[in-house]
Symmetry: C2
Subunit: 208 residues, 2 copies
């Protein structure tokens, strides 16, 4: 499923943190940064930074560190953060509606180009700049507006069906907020966000 299977997935996750660190360094007008500097801001070890970056090339110079704008550009390219990525949201309940209003998307280059629901009551409703569309228009919007990522915000009972719709519409990347496993064909990447799971994990580690 990964584009480059020999790169560990944890590395990809950290890349996102490195990119953030480099943006801050660039904002502070730093020209160069050592792996130690980046590591500190990303919350990992310097060796980890070097090892992770080494999967993609030799970006640094011994004794000098990494060129901040250059490395920032490389990482942005890897994470597709150098271009706008279009996103559709399937499921406009409370959670989906909250996501539609989330400003962090635009700031980081993600643009919501469609919000969908199967409930006829909701179709046609306006939510900020978005008009809720019927799911049957999903494939059209994906193709015509070039959406590449689907956000699944449906209740667990509807999660698999919704997933199938996203996949049938041509999406190859799904961020699911449904607290249930979903199955997808090879070539489709899924990631889960599950607040209840996180709270339960925290609860486990609670003292007493």
């Amino acid at each position: 499923m990964p584009a480059n299977p020999q790169v560990p997935e944890p590395t990809i996750i950290r890349l996102s943190a490195y990119l953030r660190a480099l943006r801050r360094l660039e904002a502070d007008e730093a020209e160069r940064a050592s792996s130690a500097t980046i590591a500190e801001r990303a919350g990992v070890s310097p060796e980890q930074v070097r090892k992770d970056l080494s999967y993609f090339g030799e970006f640094g110079r011994a004794g000098l560190g990494y060129g901040v704008p250059e490395l920032r550009r490389h990482l942005a390219r890897l994470l597709r953060a150098d271009r706008e990525l279009r996103v559709v949201v399937l499921g406009v309940g409370r959670l989906g509606a909250a996501l539609l209003g989330y400003r962090g998307f635009a700031e980081r280059g993600f643009r919501i180009v469609g919000a969908f629901d199967a409930d006829p009551e909701k179709v046609g409703m306006r939510l900020g700049p978005h008009v809720i569309m019927d799911v049957q228009h999903l494939p059209y919007v994906v193709v015509e507006l070039g959406a590449e990522i689907g956000i699944l915000a449906l209740p667990p009972e509807a999660a698999q069906q919704g997933t199938d719709l996203l996949v049938a519409a041509g999406l190859r990347a799904i961020l699911s907020f449904a607290p249930t496993p979903i199955t997808v064909p090879a070539g489709v990447t899924v990631r889960h966000m599950d607040m209840t799971r996180e709270l339960e994990v925290l609860a486990y580690y609670l003292p007493e």
Copy 2:
């Protein structure tokens, strides 16, 4: 930091999925379930289920599988899902406000007992059943209402300071939505939810 350091963290995360699977099985009135049944509903392998459960005891019977209500109770106890857990939210911007309205909390035994912000404009505002309080009342609420988990919904610049407030108030578990690493003293557990990170990871795996 873990309560039981020899149990792998991925195991704890899966425990949450097993608990969900068992609740569904219980709702379906299943009396027994094999590791294969649980595994399927949790999206993992049967061996994984058995190994994970074996860290906590011998709950199954060879040839018969696991007793559904019994195992459900065991897992609920482990994840503290057998009692109400009180939660405070620090930061009532868009995201924090959305979290205050999230119904999944109550359903799973989490109760928001306080919403806090440092902005005097926001203090005193009502949001559903919640009245935003000033951060200076945080320690009081944590102690008096027995809050055990803090949700951090502040912008990255304020994240560390907010973390320090939560820790100083006596909280030992933090769920952070801030896209930046935070440092906490030993004995405090932190987990992160970062939607932008997840989207960037998905973007990496996008074809072409």
